[in-house]
Protein backbone atom coordinates (compact mmCIF):
# COMPACT_ATOMS: atom_id res chain seq x y z
CA UNK A 1 0.00 0.00 0.00
CA UNK A 2 2.72 2.44 1.03
CA UNK A 3 4.81 1.44 -1.94
CA UNK A 4 1.83 2.01 -4.21
CA UNK A 5 1.33 5.44 -2.71
CA UNK A 6 5.00 6.25 -3.17
CA UNK A 7 4.86 5.31 -6.85
CA UNK A 8 1.70 7.35 -7.35
CA UNK A 9 3.27 10.36 -5.64
CA UNK A 10 6.41 10.04 -7.74
CA UNK A 11 4.24 9.97 -10.86
CA UNK A 12 2.90 13.39 -9.91
CA UNK A 13 6.36 14.92 -10.21
CA UNK A 14 6.59 15.07 -14.02
CA UNK A 15 3.11 16.62 -14.13
CA UNK A 16 4.12 19.21 -11.55
CA UNK A 17 7.29 19.94 -13.48
CA UNK A 18 5.35 20.52 -16.70
CA UNK A 19 2.90 22.69 -14.77
CA UNK A 20 5.68 24.81 -13.29
CA UNK A 21 7.26 25.38 -16.70
CA UNK A 22 3.89 26.08 -18.27
CA UNK A 23 2.93 28.61 -15.61
CA UNK A 24 6.30 30.31 -15.69
CA UNK A 25 6.34 30.51 -19.47
CA UNK A 26 2.74 31.64 -19.78
CA UNK A 27 2.74 34.46 -17.27
CA UNK A 28 5.87 36.02 -18.75
CA UNK A 29 3.98 36.26 -22.03
CA UNK A 30 1.39 38.56 -20.49
CA UNK A 31 2.09 42.11 -21.59
CA UNK A 32 2.60 44.56 -18.76
CA UNK A 33 5.45 45.20 -16.46
CA UNK A 34 5.45 44.70 -12.68
CA UNK A 35 7.93 47.52 -12.23
CA UNK A 36 5.61 49.94 -14.03
CA UNK A 37 2.69 48.93 -11.83
CA UNK A 38 4.82 49.24 -8.73
CA UNK A 39 5.86 52.75 -9.67
CA UNK A 40 2.39 53.87 -10.71
CA UNK A 41 2.23 57.60 -11.27
CA UNK A 42 5.81 58.41 -10.53
CA UNK A 43 7.93 56.84 -13.16
CA UNK A 44 10.76 57.49 -15.48
CA UNK A 45 13.19 55.31 -17.37
CA UNK A 46 15.81 55.37 -14.62
CA UNK A 47 13.37 54.42 -11.87
CA UNK A 48 11.96 51.62 -14.03
CA UNK A 49 15.39 50.18 -14.70
CA UNK A 50 16.28 50.40 -11.01
CA UNK A 51 13.12 48.61 -9.94
CA UNK A 52 13.57 45.92 -12.59
CA UNK A 53 17.06 45.34 -11.27
CA UNK A 54 15.76 45.22 -7.70
CA UNK A 55 13.10 42.69 -8.67
CA UNK A 56 15.59 40.55 -10.57
CA UNK A 57 13.64 40.92 -13.80
CA UNK A 58 16.62 41.85 -15.94
CA UNK A 59 17.85 38.25 -16.20
CA UNK A 60 16.73 35.99 -19.04
CA UNK A 61 13.48 34.12 -18.49
CA UNK A 62 15.28 30.77 -18.45
CA UNK A 63 17.72 31.99 -15.80
CA UNK A 64 14.86 33.30 -13.72
CA UNK A 65 13.04 29.99 -14.08
CA UNK A 66 15.93 27.87 -12.93
CA UNK A 67 16.72 30.16 -10.05
CA UNK A 68 13.07 29.96 -8.99
CA UNK A 69 13.04 26.18 -9.38
CA UNK A 70 16.19 25.65 -7.37
CA UNK A 71 14.85 27.81 -4.56
CA UNK A 72 11.55 25.90 -4.67
CA UNK A 73 13.52 22.77 -3.93
CA UNK A 74 14.54 24.20 -0.58
CA UNK A 75 10.99 25.36 0.15
CA UNK A 76 11.61 29.01 -0.72
CA UNK A 77 8.70 30.34 -2.75
CA UNK A 78 10.18 33.82 -2.91
CA UNK A 79 8.44 37.01 -1.93
CA UNK A 80 5.73 39.16 -3.46
CA UNK A 81 6.98 41.89 -5.78
CA UNK A 82 4.23 44.22 -4.61
CA UNK A 83 4.04 43.75 -0.85
CA UNK A 84 7.36 41.97 -0.13
CA UNK A 85 5.33 39.40 1.77
CA UNK A 86 6.87 35.90 1.77
CA UNK A 87 4.79 33.84 -0.67
CA UNK A 88 4.51 30.51 1.14
CA UNK A 89 3.13 31.82 4.47
CA UNK A 90 0.81 34.08 2.49
CA UNK A 91 -0.52 31.07 0.58
CA UNK A 92 -1.04 29.25 3.88
CA UNK A 93 -3.04 32.12 5.30
CA UNK A 94 -5.20 32.49 2.19
CA UNK A 95 -5.69 28.76 1.96
CA UNK A 96 -7.10 28.66 5.51
CA UNK A 97 -9.60 31.31 4.47
CA UNK A 98 -10.60 29.40 1.34
CA UNK A 99 -10.99 26.24 3.44
CA UNK A 100 -13.44 27.98 5.74
CA UNK A 101 -15.65 28.85 2.78
CA UNK A 102 -15.20 25.74 0.70
CA UNK A 103 -15.45 23.00 3.31
CA UNK A 104 -18.88 24.00 4.65
CA UNK A 105 -20.17 24.36 1.09
CA UNK A 106 -18.69 21.01 0.15
CA UNK A 107 -20.02 19.16 3.20
CA UNK A 108 -23.48 20.63 2.81
CA UNK A 109 -23.46 19.61 -0.84
CA UNK A 110 -22.42 16.05 -0.02
CA UNK A 111 -24.99 15.68 2.75
CA UNK A 112 -27.82 16.92 0.59
CA UNK A 113 -26.78 15.44 -2.74
CA UNK A 114 -26.07 11.84 -1.74
CA UNK A 115 -29.48 11.18 -0.14
CA UNK A 116 -31.21 13.16 -2.88
CA UNK A 117 -29.49 11.16 -5.63
CA UNK A 118 -30.25 7.91 -3.88
CA UNK A 119 -33.89 8.84 -3.38
CA UNK A 120 -34.26 9.85 -7.01
CA UNK A 121 -32.82 6.53 -8.13
CA UNK A 122 -34.93 4.50 -5.73
CA UNK A 123 -38.13 6.24 -6.74
CA UNK A 124 -37.08 6.31 -10.39
CA UNK A 125 -39.77 7.54 -12.78
CA UNK A 126 -42.07 8.72 -10.00
CA UNK A 127 -42.77 12.37 -9.23
CA UNK A 128 -40.06 12.35 -6.53
CA UNK A 129 -37.44 11.45 -9.11
CA UNK A 130 -38.74 14.00 -11.58
CA UNK A 131 -38.79 16.75 -8.97
CA UNK A 132 -35.25 16.05 -7.83
CA UNK A 133 -33.97 15.90 -11.41
CA UNK A 134 -35.68 19.16 -12.36
CA UNK A 135 -34.39 20.97 -9.27
CA UNK A 136 -30.88 19.60 -9.84
CA UNK A 137 -30.84 20.57 -13.52
CA UNK A 138 -32.14 23.99 -12.57
CA UNK A 139 -29.46 24.57 -9.93
CA UNK A 140 -26.85 23.41 -12.40
CA UNK A 141 -27.98 26.17 -14.76
CA UNK A 142 -27.82 29.15 -12.43
CA UNK A 143 -24.35 30.74 -12.58
CA UNK A 144 -22.94 31.04 -9.07
CA UNK A 145 -22.00 34.69 -9.54
CA UNK A 146 -25.52 35.53 -10.63
CA UNK A 147 -26.81 33.70 -7.60
CA UNK A 148 -24.36 35.76 -5.53
CA UNK A 149 -25.72 39.00 -6.99
CA UNK A 150 -29.31 37.96 -6.34
CA UNK A 151 -28.43 37.04 -2.76
CA UNK A 152 -26.65 40.36 -2.21
CA UNK A 153 -29.62 42.20 -3.62
CA UNK A 154 -32.10 40.26 -1.51
CA UNK A 155 -30.26 40.02 1.80
CA UNK A 156 -27.96 43.01 1.62
CA UNK A 157 -30.05 45.70 0.00
CA UNK A 158 -33.71 44.78 -0.14
CA UNK A 159 -33.91 43.07 3.26
CA UNK A 160 -30.54 43.72 4.87
CA UNK A 161 -30.14 41.01 7.48
CA UNK A 162 -26.83 39.44 6.47
CA UNK A 163 -23.36 40.84 5.85
CA UNK A 164 -22.67 40.91 2.12
CA UNK A 165 -18.94 40.98 2.23
CA UNK A 166 -15.85 40.66 4.30
CA UNK A 167 -14.54 37.74 6.23
CA UNK A 168 -14.39 36.86 9.91
CA UNK A 169 -12.11 34.07 11.03
CA UNK A 170 -13.89 31.17 12.73
CA UNK A 171 -11.29 31.21 15.48
CA UNK A 172 -11.95 34.84 16.38
CA UNK A 173 -15.75 35.00 16.44
CA UNK A 174 -17.77 31.93 15.53
CA UNK A 175 -21.17 33.58 15.34
CA UNK A 176 -20.03 36.43 13.10
CA UNK A 177 -17.98 34.02 11.03
CA UNK A 178 -21.06 31.95 10.31
CA UNK A 179 -23.12 35.01 9.50
CA UNK A 180 -20.47 36.14 7.00
CA UNK A 181 -20.31 32.70 5.43
CA UNK A 182 -24.02 32.18 4.80
CA UNK A 183 -24.26 34.08 1.50
CA UNK A 184 -21.02 32.94 -0.15
CA UNK A 185 -21.62 29.33 0.87
CA UNK A 186 -25.18 29.48 -0.44
CA UNK A 187 -23.98 30.93 -3.74
CA UNK A 188 -21.45 28.12 -4.10
CA UNK A 189 -23.45 25.19 -2.89
CA UNK A 190 -26.19 24.97 -5.51
CA UNK A 191 -24.03 23.94 -8.42
CA UNK A 192 -22.14 21.40 -6.32
CA UNK A 193 -25.38 19.85 -5.07
CA UNK A 194 -26.63 19.63 -8.64
CA UNK A 195 -23.53 17.91 -10.00
CA UNK A 196 -23.31 15.42 -7.14
CA UNK A 197 -27.01 14.58 -7.14
CA UNK A 198 -26.95 13.78 -10.83
CA UNK A 199 -23.88 11.55 -10.52
CA UNK A 200 -25.26 9.76 -7.46
CA UNK A 201 -28.57 9.16 -9.16
CA UNK A 202 -26.99 7.78 -12.31
CA UNK A 203 -24.71 5.35 -10.50
CA UNK A 204 -27.44 4.26 -8.07
CA UNK A 205 -29.74 3.46 -10.98
CA UNK A 206 -27.02 1.36 -12.57
CA UNK A 207 -26.33 -0.51 -9.32
CA UNK A 208 -30.01 -1.24 -8.75
CA UNK A 209 -30.18 -3.14 -12.02
CA UNK A 210 -27.27 -5.39 -11.10
CA UNK A 211 -27.93 -9.05 -10.46
CA UNK A 212 -26.76 -9.02 -6.86
CA UNK A 213 -29.41 -6.48 -5.90
CA UNK A 214 -32.04 -8.62 -7.53
CA UNK A 215 -30.64 -11.59 -5.61
CA UNK A 216 -30.62 -9.67 -2.36
CA UNK A 217 -34.21 -8.73 -2.83
CA UNK A 218 -35.11 -12.31 -3.71
CA UNK A 219 -33.51 -13.43 -0.45
CA UNK A 220 -36.11 -11.33 1.34
CA UNK A 221 -33.80 -8.67 2.82
CA UNK A 222 -35.71 -5.57 3.89
CA UNK A 223 -35.80 -2.68 1.44
CA UNK A 224 -33.96 -0.45 3.93
CA UNK A 225 -31.12 -2.91 4.06
CA UNK A 226 -31.04 -3.26 0.30
CA UNK A 227 -30.70 0.46 -0.13
CA UNK A 228 -28.22 1.20 2.62
CA UNK A 229 -26.19 -2.00 2.66
CA UNK A 230 -25.99 -2.72 -1.03
CA UNK A 231 -27.08 0.12 -3.27
CA UNK A 232 -25.48 3.03 -1.40
CA UNK A 233 -21.96 1.64 -0.93
CA UNK A 234 -21.74 0.44 -4.50
CA UNK A 235 -23.15 3.61 -5.97
CA UNK A 236 -20.97 5.81 -3.76
CA UNK A 237 -17.70 4.55 -5.15
CA UNK A 238 -18.12 6.01 -8.67
CA UNK A 239 -19.33 9.27 -7.14
CA UNK A 240 -16.15 9.43 -5.11
CA UNK A 241 -14.06 10.35 -8.14
CA UNK A 242 -16.40 13.23 -8.91
CA UNK A 243 -16.38 14.29 -5.26
CA UNK A 244 -12.60 14.40 -5.44
CA UNK A 245 -12.66 16.46 -8.62
CA UNK A 246 -15.12 18.93 -7.11
CA UNK A 247 -13.20 19.31 -3.87
CA UNK A 248 -9.96 19.67 -5.76
CA UNK A 249 -11.27 22.44 -7.96
CA UNK A 250 -13.05 24.19 -5.07
CA UNK A 251 -9.84 24.27 -3.07
CA UNK A 252 -8.13 26.18 -5.83
CA UNK A 253 -10.24 29.05 -4.65
CA UNK A 254 -13.36 30.37 -6.17
CA UNK A 255 -12.04 33.53 -7.71
CA UNK A 256 -15.36 35.02 -8.74
CA UNK A 257 -17.25 34.36 -5.49
CA UNK A 258 -14.30 35.54 -3.44
CA UNK A 259 -14.15 38.73 -5.45
CA UNK A 260 -17.86 39.40 -5.18
CA UNK A 261 -17.93 38.87 -1.41
CA UNK A 262 -14.52 40.36 -0.65
CA UNK A 263 -13.12 37.18 0.88
CA UNK A 264 -9.31 37.13 1.10
CA UNK A 265 -8.99 33.57 -0.19
CA UNK A 266 -6.64 31.86 -2.62
CA UNK A 267 -8.71 32.53 -5.73
CA UNK A 268 -8.72 36.28 -5.25
CA UNK A 269 -5.07 36.17 -4.25
CA UNK A 270 -4.22 34.70 -7.66
CA UNK A 271 -6.50 37.03 -9.63
CA UNK A 272 -5.10 40.11 -7.87
CA UNK A 273 -1.58 38.84 -8.47
CA UNK A 274 -2.32 38.23 -12.15
CA UNK A 275 -3.58 41.78 -12.57
CA UNK A 276 -0.57 43.15 -10.68
CA UNK A 277 1.86 40.88 -12.61
CA UNK A 278 3.18 39.75 -9.25
CA UNK A 279 5.12 36.83 -10.77
CA UNK A 280 6.33 35.04 -7.61
CA UNK A 281 2.81 35.06 -6.16
CA UNK A 282 1.18 33.77 -9.37
CA UNK A 283 3.78 31.05 -9.83
CA UNK A 284 3.80 29.90 -6.24
CA UNK A 285 0.06 29.98 -5.72
CA UNK A 286 -0.83 28.28 -9.00
CA UNK A 287 1.71 25.55 -8.35
CA UNK A 288 0.32 25.07 -4.84
CA UNK A 289 -3.22 24.90 -6.15
CA UNK A 290 -2.29 22.33 -8.79
CA UNK A 291 -0.46 20.22 -6.21
CA UNK A 292 -3.52 20.29 -3.93
CA UNK A 293 -5.74 19.28 -6.83
CA UNK A 294 -3.50 16.37 -7.76
CA UNK A 295 -3.18 15.24 -4.13
CA UNK A 296 -6.92 15.28 -3.53
CA UNK A 297 -7.44 13.19 -6.63
CA UNK A 298 -4.71 10.79 -5.57
CA UNK A 299 -6.40 10.49 -2.21
CA UNK A 300 -9.74 9.60 -3.79
CA UNK A 301 -7.94 7.02 -5.94
CA UNK A 302 -6.53 5.49 -2.78
CA UNK A 303 -9.86 5.56 -0.98
CA UNK A 304 -11.67 3.99 -3.90
CA UNK A 305 -10.96 0.34 -3.03
CA UNK A 306 -12.18 0.91 0.53
CA UNK A 307 -15.61 1.61 -0.87
CA UNK A 308 -15.63 -0.61 -3.90
CA UNK A 309 -14.59 -4.15 -3.08
CA UNK A 310 -14.48 -5.01 -6.78
CA UNK A 311 -11.44 -2.81 -7.32
CA UNK A 312 -8.12 -3.93 -5.89
CA UNK A 313 -4.97 -1.91 -5.90
CA UNK A 314 -2.38 -3.40 -8.14
Amino acid sequence: MIRYMGIKLALLLPTLFVVSALIFGLIRQIPGDPAAILLGDNQNAAALAAVNEELGLNDTVAAQYFSWLSKLGSGDFGQSLMTKEAVLPAIGKRFLVTLQVVLPAFLIAVFIALPAGLAAAYYQKTWIDRLIVVVATFSLSVPSFWMALLLIYQFGIDWPILPTGGFVDIASDLREAIRHLILPVTALVFVEIAILTRIMRASAIEVMQQDYIVHARAKGISEMQVVFKHVFPNAFAPSLTVIGLILGSLLSGTAVIETVFGIPGLGRFIVDAIYARDYPVIQGTLLFVVAIYLLVNLLTDLLYPLFDPRVRLS
Binding site: T137, A255, I270
Partner: protein, 278 residues
Amino acid sequence: MKYRAIAGLSKGAQSSLVLLSIVALSALVAHVYLPYDPLALNIEHRLQGPSLEHLFGTDFFGRDMFSRMLVGAGVSLRVSFFSVVFATLLGTLVGACAGYYGGWTDRLFMICVDAVLAMPGILLALVLMLIIGAGEAGVVLALGLAYAPTVARTVRGTVLSIREKEFVEAASVMGMSSRYALLRHIVPNTFGPLTVLCSSLFAQALLSESALSFLGLGIPPPYPSWGGMLADGRQFISQAPWLCLIPGAAISLTLLSINTLGDALRDKLDPRTRRRMQ
Protein backbone atom coordinates in the same frame (compact mmCIF):
# COMPACT_ATOMS: atom_id res chain seq x y z
CA MET B 1 -37.97 10.25 -39.20
CA LYS B 2 -36.68 13.60 -37.97
CA TYR B 3 -40.07 14.41 -36.54
CA ARG B 4 -40.25 11.10 -34.73
CA ALA B 5 -36.85 11.70 -33.21
CA ILE B 6 -38.08 14.94 -31.73
CA ALA B 7 -41.40 13.47 -30.66
CA GLY B 8 -39.48 10.75 -28.86
CA LEU B 9 -37.93 13.33 -26.57
CA SER B 10 -39.36 14.13 -23.18
CA LYS B 11 -41.50 17.21 -22.73
CA GLY B 12 -38.61 18.91 -20.95
CA ALA B 13 -36.27 18.25 -23.83
CA GLN B 14 -38.86 19.43 -26.33
CA SER B 15 -39.40 22.72 -24.59
CA SER B 16 -35.63 23.12 -24.27
CA LEU B 17 -35.35 22.67 -27.99
CA VAL B 18 -37.99 25.32 -28.53
CA LEU B 19 -36.21 27.70 -26.16
CA LEU B 20 -32.83 27.20 -27.78
CA SER B 21 -34.39 27.73 -31.19
CA ILE B 22 -35.83 31.02 -29.96
CA VAL B 23 -32.41 32.13 -28.72
CA ALA B 24 -30.77 31.12 -31.99
CA LEU B 25 -33.55 32.74 -33.98
CA SER B 26 -33.27 36.02 -32.08
CA ALA B 27 -29.56 36.01 -32.82
CA LEU B 28 -30.43 35.69 -36.50
CA VAL B 29 -33.21 38.26 -36.33
CA ALA B 30 -30.73 40.74 -34.87
CA HIS B 31 -28.95 40.73 -38.25
CA VAL B 32 -32.13 41.77 -40.04
CA TYR B 33 -34.14 43.86 -37.66
CA LEU B 34 -33.50 45.63 -34.36
CA PRO B 35 -35.91 48.00 -32.60
CA TYR B 36 -33.03 50.36 -31.75
CA ASP B 37 -29.36 50.73 -32.59
CA PRO B 38 -27.75 48.70 -29.78
CA LEU B 39 -24.74 51.04 -29.74
CA ALA B 40 -26.51 54.41 -29.91
CA LEU B 41 -26.05 56.43 -26.75
CA ASN B 42 -28.99 58.33 -25.39
CA ILE B 43 -28.30 60.34 -22.28
CA GLU B 44 -31.88 61.39 -21.67
CA HIS B 45 -33.10 57.80 -21.58
CA ARG B 46 -30.50 56.22 -19.35
CA LEU B 47 -31.48 53.63 -16.73
CA GLN B 48 -35.14 53.47 -17.67
CA GLY B 49 -37.16 50.54 -16.41
CA PRO B 50 -38.84 48.06 -18.74
CA SER B 51 -41.70 49.65 -20.68
CA LEU B 52 -43.54 49.19 -23.95
CA GLU B 53 -41.07 51.52 -25.61
CA HIS B 54 -38.04 49.70 -24.22
CA LEU B 55 -39.11 46.13 -23.45
CA PHE B 56 -36.11 45.38 -21.26
CA GLY B 57 -35.42 48.99 -20.22
CA THR B 58 -32.21 50.89 -20.97
CA ASP B 59 -28.71 50.72 -19.54
CA PHE B 60 -26.41 53.34 -18.05
CA PHE B 61 -25.61 54.69 -21.50
CA GLY B 62 -29.27 54.87 -22.48
CA ARG B 63 -28.92 51.99 -24.92
CA ASP B 64 -31.94 49.77 -25.52
CA MET B 65 -31.49 46.55 -23.57
CA PHE B 66 -33.82 44.52 -25.77
CA SER B 67 -31.79 45.24 -28.89
CA ARG B 68 -28.61 44.54 -26.97
CA MET B 69 -29.96 41.23 -25.70
CA LEU B 70 -30.78 40.21 -29.28
CA VAL B 71 -27.31 41.06 -30.52
CA GLY B 72 -25.79 39.58 -27.36
CA ALA B 73 -27.48 36.25 -28.03
CA GLY B 74 -25.51 35.99 -31.25
CA VAL B 75 -22.23 36.99 -29.63
CA SER B 76 -22.61 34.59 -26.70
CA LEU B 77 -23.72 31.63 -28.81
CA ARG B 78 -21.03 32.24 -31.41
CA VAL B 79 -18.27 32.45 -28.83
CA SER B 80 -19.43 29.33 -26.97
CA PHE B 81 -19.90 27.41 -30.20
CA PHE B 82 -16.49 28.17 -31.64
CA SER B 83 -14.78 27.54 -28.29
CA VAL B 84 -16.26 24.06 -28.31
CA VAL B 85 -15.37 23.50 -31.96
CA PHE B 86 -11.80 24.59 -31.35
CA ALA B 87 -11.53 22.48 -28.18
CA THR B 88 -12.97 19.46 -30.02
CA LEU B 89 -10.63 19.74 -32.98
CA LEU B 90 -7.54 20.22 -30.87
CA GLY B 91 -8.58 17.67 -28.24
CA THR B 92 -9.49 15.03 -30.81
CA LEU B 93 -6.17 15.45 -32.59
CA VAL B 94 -4.16 15.12 -29.38
CA GLY B 95 -6.33 12.36 -27.92
CA ALA B 96 -6.46 10.29 -31.10
CA CYS B 97 -2.69 10.51 -31.62
CA ALA B 98 -1.99 9.63 -27.99
CA GLY B 99 -4.42 6.73 -28.02
CA TYR B 100 -3.39 5.36 -31.39
CA TYR B 101 0.39 5.62 -31.22
CA GLY B 102 0.59 4.77 -27.49
CA GLY B 103 4.00 4.45 -25.86
CA TRP B 104 6.03 7.58 -25.30
CA THR B 105 3.84 9.76 -27.47
CA ASP B 106 0.93 8.79 -25.28
CA ARG B 107 2.79 9.32 -22.03
CA LEU B 108 4.16 12.70 -23.05
CA PHE B 109 0.83 13.94 -24.36
CA MET B 110 -0.98 12.74 -21.29
CA ILE B 111 1.40 14.45 -18.87
CA CYS B 112 0.74 17.73 -20.68
CA VAL B 113 -2.99 17.07 -20.74
CA ASP B 114 -2.98 16.27 -17.01
CA ALA B 115 -0.95 19.39 -16.32
CA VAL B 116 -3.45 21.62 -18.08
CA LEU B 117 -6.39 19.77 -16.52
CA ALA B 118 -4.98 20.29 -13.04
CA MET B 119 -4.92 24.04 -13.48
CA PRO B 120 -8.03 25.94 -12.47
CA GLY B 121 -9.85 26.43 -15.79
CA ILE B 122 -11.08 29.97 -15.28
CA LEU B 123 -7.66 31.23 -14.16
CA LEU B 124 -5.96 29.53 -17.08
CA ALA B 125 -8.47 31.17 -19.40
CA LEU B 126 -7.86 34.53 -17.69
CA VAL B 127 -4.10 34.28 -18.24
CA LEU B 128 -4.59 33.20 -21.86
CA MET B 129 -7.00 36.10 -22.43
CA LEU B 130 -4.43 38.53 -21.12
CA ILE B 131 -1.86 37.13 -23.54
CA ILE B 132 -4.11 36.84 -26.59
CA GLY B 133 -6.12 39.97 -25.89
CA ALA B 134 -9.77 40.48 -25.12
CA GLY B 135 -12.13 39.90 -28.01
CA GLU B 136 -14.19 37.14 -29.54
CA ALA B 137 -11.12 35.41 -30.94
CA GLY B 138 -9.39 35.73 -27.57
CA VAL B 139 -12.25 34.14 -25.68
CA VAL B 140 -12.57 31.34 -28.24
CA LEU B 141 -8.86 30.54 -28.13
CA ALA B 142 -8.60 30.81 -24.35
CA LEU B 143 -11.64 28.67 -23.59
CA GLY B 144 -10.80 26.26 -26.39
CA LEU B 145 -7.30 25.70 -25.05
CA ALA B 146 -8.62 25.31 -21.53
CA TYR B 147 -11.20 22.69 -22.58
CA ALA B 148 -9.17 20.75 -25.13
CA PRO B 149 -7.58 18.43 -22.51
CA THR B 150 -11.00 17.16 -21.38
CA VAL B 151 -11.79 16.26 -24.98
CA ALA B 152 -8.37 14.70 -25.44
CA ARG B 153 -8.90 12.40 -22.46
CA THR B 154 -12.30 11.26 -23.65
CA VAL B 155 -11.11 10.62 -27.20
CA ARG B 156 -8.02 8.80 -26.01
CA GLY B 157 -10.12 6.57 -23.75
CA THR B 158 -12.45 5.66 -26.58
CA VAL B 159 -9.60 5.10 -29.01
CA LEU B 160 -7.83 2.81 -26.54
CA SER B 161 -10.95 0.72 -26.08
CA ILE B 162 -11.64 0.46 -29.80
CA ARG B 163 -8.06 -0.06 -30.92
CA GLU B 164 -7.99 -3.58 -29.62
CA LYS B 165 -11.26 -4.47 -31.30
CA GLU B 166 -11.36 -6.80 -34.23
CA PHE B 167 -12.44 -4.45 -36.94
CA VAL B 168 -9.36 -2.26 -36.62
CA GLU B 169 -7.12 -5.29 -36.65
CA ALA B 170 -9.05 -6.66 -39.57
CA ALA B 171 -8.49 -3.38 -41.38
CA SER B 172 -4.72 -3.56 -40.94
CA VAL B 173 -4.74 -7.21 -41.99
CA MET B 174 -6.52 -6.13 -45.12
CA GLY B 175 -3.54 -3.89 -45.81
CA MET B 176 -5.04 -0.52 -45.09
CA SER B 177 -2.65 2.11 -43.76
CA SER B 178 -2.85 2.88 -40.08
CA ARG B 179 -3.85 6.45 -40.73
CA TYR B 180 -6.74 5.28 -42.83
CA ALA B 181 -7.80 2.83 -40.13
CA LEU B 182 -7.72 5.63 -37.63
CA LEU B 183 -9.93 7.82 -39.73
CA ARG B 184 -12.25 5.13 -40.96
CA HIS B 185 -13.09 3.50 -37.65
CA ILE B 186 -11.88 5.27 -34.60
CA VAL B 187 -13.03 8.79 -35.24
CA PRO B 188 -16.66 7.86 -36.01
CA ASN B 189 -16.76 5.68 -32.91
CA THR B 190 -15.83 8.57 -30.64
CA PHE B 191 -18.73 10.54 -32.02
CA GLY B 192 -21.25 9.43 -29.37
CA PRO B 193 -19.28 10.24 -26.22
CA LEU B 194 -17.98 13.44 -27.83
CA THR B 195 -21.46 14.75 -28.58
CA VAL B 196 -22.43 14.32 -24.95
CA LEU B 197 -19.22 15.97 -23.80
CA CYS B 198 -19.64 18.85 -26.24
CA SER B 199 -23.09 19.70 -24.96
CA SER B 200 -21.71 20.04 -21.44
CA LEU B 201 -18.68 21.99 -22.70
CA PHE B 202 -20.99 24.34 -24.56
CA ALA B 203 -22.80 25.08 -21.29
CA GLN B 204 -19.46 25.57 -19.55
CA ALA B 205 -18.22 27.92 -22.25
CA LEU B 206 -21.31 30.09 -21.95
CA LEU B 207 -20.76 30.20 -18.19
CA SER B 208 -17.03 30.89 -18.41
CA GLU B 209 -17.50 33.73 -20.87
CA SER B 210 -19.68 35.47 -18.26
CA ALA B 211 -17.23 34.66 -15.48
CA LEU B 212 -14.39 36.18 -17.52
CA SER B 213 -16.43 39.35 -18.00
CA PHE B 214 -17.03 39.30 -14.27
CA LEU B 215 -13.30 39.23 -13.61
CA GLY B 216 -12.87 42.19 -15.94
CA LEU B 217 -12.00 40.57 -19.26
CA GLY B 218 -14.47 39.30 -21.80
CA ILE B 219 -15.95 40.43 -25.06
CA PRO B 220 -14.96 44.08 -25.38
CA PRO B 221 -17.63 46.73 -25.82
CA PRO B 222 -19.42 48.25 -27.57
CA TYR B 223 -20.65 44.86 -28.87
CA PRO B 224 -22.57 43.21 -26.08
CA SER B 225 -22.33 39.66 -24.81
CA TRP B 226 -24.75 38.45 -22.16
CA GLY B 227 -21.96 37.88 -19.68
CA GLY B 228 -20.57 41.34 -20.28
CA MET B 229 -24.00 42.90 -19.83
CA LEU B 230 -24.45 41.04 -16.56
CA ALA B 231 -21.05 42.15 -15.32
CA ASP B 232 -21.66 45.77 -16.36
CA GLY B 233 -25.13 45.81 -14.83
CA ARG B 234 -24.14 44.71 -11.36
CA GLN B 235 -23.15 48.16 -10.15
CA PHE B 236 -26.71 49.33 -10.72
CA ILE B 237 -28.27 46.41 -8.90
CA SER B 238 -30.05 48.42 -6.24
CA GLN B 239 -31.41 50.99 -8.61
CA ALA B 240 -31.84 49.18 -11.92
CA PRO B 241 -32.00 45.49 -11.02
CA TRP B 242 -33.27 44.54 -14.48
CA LEU B 243 -29.79 45.20 -15.88
CA CYS B 244 -28.62 42.14 -13.94
CA LEU B 245 -31.81 40.14 -13.88
CA ILE B 246 -32.42 39.99 -17.62
CA PRO B 247 -29.02 38.83 -18.88
CA GLY B 248 -28.67 36.51 -15.88
CA ALA B 249 -32.05 34.96 -16.57
CA ALA B 250 -31.20 34.60 -20.25
CA ILE B 251 -27.96 32.82 -19.42
CA SER B 252 -29.69 30.57 -16.89
CA LEU B 253 -32.53 29.60 -19.24
CA THR B 254 -30.13 28.85 -22.07
CA LEU B 255 -27.99 26.75 -19.76
CA LEU B 256 -31.09 24.94 -18.53
CA SER B 257 -32.05 24.09 -22.09
CA ILE B 258 -28.58 22.92 -23.01
CA ASN B 259 -28.31 20.78 -19.88
CA THR B 260 -31.74 19.22 -20.41
CA LEU B 261 -30.97 18.48 -24.05
CA GLY B 262 -27.58 17.12 -23.04
CA ASP B 263 -29.29 14.67 -20.69
CA ALA B 264 -31.66 13.58 -23.43
CA LEU B 265 -28.70 13.17 -25.76
CA ARG B 266 -26.86 11.04 -23.24
CA ASP B 267 -29.87 8.80 -22.80
CA LYS B 268 -29.94 8.28 -26.56
CA LEU B 269 -26.23 7.88 -27.21
CA ASP B 270 -24.71 6.35 -24.09
CA PRO B 271 -24.72 2.57 -24.62
CA ARG B 272 -25.00 1.89 -20.92
CA THR B 273 -28.17 3.89 -20.58
CA ARG B 274 -29.50 2.38 -23.74
CA ARG B 275 -29.07 -1.06 -22.32
CA ARG B 276 -30.91 0.07 -19.24
CA MET B 277 -33.78 1.32 -21.35
CA GLN B 278 -34.28 -2.02 -22.96
